[in-house]
């Protein structure tokens, strides 16, 4: 049986209570809104690029502990990364939260590996990936809000 502590790890709870980079980025040149109608999570992700690199990133909005912590830790792990590095990280993150990567290969994810417990809770995958989908939309310059439905 899935253990709640696998999902609600201390790091996740801590980030959900005190999210990092939780601010509107006035200098942002990319932004997008993401929405999860299932639970009402709604975030805006702001990105400021310098050339091909993410110079600064922030987010605002409200949502469950998983979605908020995921957004917070995403912003932490992406500062200074190039777009292709960000895409690569999301792809790996997605595989981990959907249980497609075995435990041994999680090391490359660094701190984001704490979200591996999400794979035991299929209804929460959308929460964990909302900020990432929103980031992609922001970088692709999509106008409409991203929806997980």
């Amino acid at each position: 049986m899935a253990d709640l502590r696998d999902l609600y790890q201390e790091v996740i709870l801590e980030h959900s209570k005190a999210p990092r980079n939780f601010r509107e980025l006035r200098s942002a040149d990319h932004k997008a809104e993401g929405y999860n109608p299932l639970c009402g999570d709604r975030f805006t992700v702001y990105v400021q690029m310098q050339g091909d690199s993410i110079q600064d990133i922030g987010f605002q909005g409200s949502g469950c502990a998983i979605s908020k912590a995921s957004a917070s830790m995403m912003t932490q792990s992406l500062k200074g990364k190039t777009r292709s590095e960000a895409d690569e990280l999301f792809s790996r993150f997605h595989k981990v939260v959907t249980g497609q990567i075995a435990n041994g290969n999680k090391a490359e994810l660094g701190k984001l590996a704490v979200f591996s417990g999400v794979s035991e809770f299929p209804t929460r995958v959308k929460c964990a990936t909302l900020a990432w989908h929103t980031l992609q939309a922001a970088l692709e310059g999509k106008q409409d809000a991203v929806s997980t439905e």
Binding site: M1, L4, Y8, C39, G40, R42, S62, C64, R124, C127
Partner: protein
Amino acid sequence: MSTVAKLPKNVTDTNVREFGSSFDVERVRADFPILQQKARGHKLVYLDNAATSQKPKAVIDAIVRYYERDNANIHRGVHYLSERATEEYETARKVVQSFLNAEHASEIIFVRSATEAINLVAQTYGRVHVGPGDEVLITAMEHHSNIVPWQLLCDEKSAKLRIAPINDKGELLLDEFEKLLGPRTKIVSLGHVSNALGTIAPLAKIIDIAHAKNIPVVVDGAQAAPRLPVDVQELDCDFYAFSGHKAYGPTGIGVLYGKLALLEEMPPYQGGGDMISSVTFEKTIYNKVPHKFEAGTPDMSGAVGLRAAIEYLNRLGIERISKYEHDLLIYATETVSEIPGVRLIGTAKEKAGVLSFVMEGVHPHDVGTILDQEGIAIRTGHHCAQPVMERFGVDATARASFGLYNTKEEIDALVRGIQKVREVFA
């Protein structure tokens, strides 16, 4: 499993009295096969009845029996089975008629759901009677199914959708409602019981006020039909909609009650077989009500299942169910609201079946996941009532909703579950 108690087939008044003056919930629970299982290693505690209810064995058996014994297409065959299937389907209509105390069986139209029933009224009565500049009046606590059909109509007709406001308890402001009833108001539509807040609408007063201005009233009874006695003649509502699956019947079947005179003058909803008297390429003559509104082969097994559900409710007694669920709600309200950090959303004086709440510092979705690990099923989210969430300044709520098989012990389990949420997020 399979310790399903059989209720006597022909229950007389004496048998009903034998059921006991107090509600024998353990005996009721034994009628529901799905409740006899564990969820995530715990006893299943199903508190998501406002989303859909579970089905008693009598309903499941009725559907199986229909397919094993009676199935054929109705209203058109001359053969043995068709006659029997038609008889089953039309008997179901009469059972619904008496459940709602409608004057005529032909006032009962079988549809897919309460949603389809409201769409039917909007697209037939609405399209004839609502024109540019006219208004449709609903309330601030409607389910999306009683908002969007009217928005579609108003968009098409350049009409206005007006919203009667509610107070902080989730009660309709009757004075404001009355003020919004103007010369251009063509339809009033509102829920009998709010799915997000549990508020029971003061229907009698609303219908009086609306009728004094000759405005017809549509009632969304999806949450009320399984919980409160409904008498459409006493209410004098013009339309009443409900879904089978929230009333212990199958999915895919719902009911629209409409006053005969209104139904007769309304145009058809969909075209097809069964809704016609004669068809030529030049002209089609429509069948009489209710068949005019039932194009195509209907959900016959659904009607049979719904009949079994209503007969089950009748055997238990809807008044007794109502009283029992009210006691559960009072108990849940008292115990849940005592938990520190919990705020109830929807504290109307008149409530039924629904306990919506939020927790300080914890998103409802996390509440739902943690309760689920304890085998407790609740609903979290906006409950298809986003304007209600906005009114109360929340993104979502956690909602426990009760059915006739729930127990005080299950509410105790809910309270323990909420305590656990507090521990995880401490």
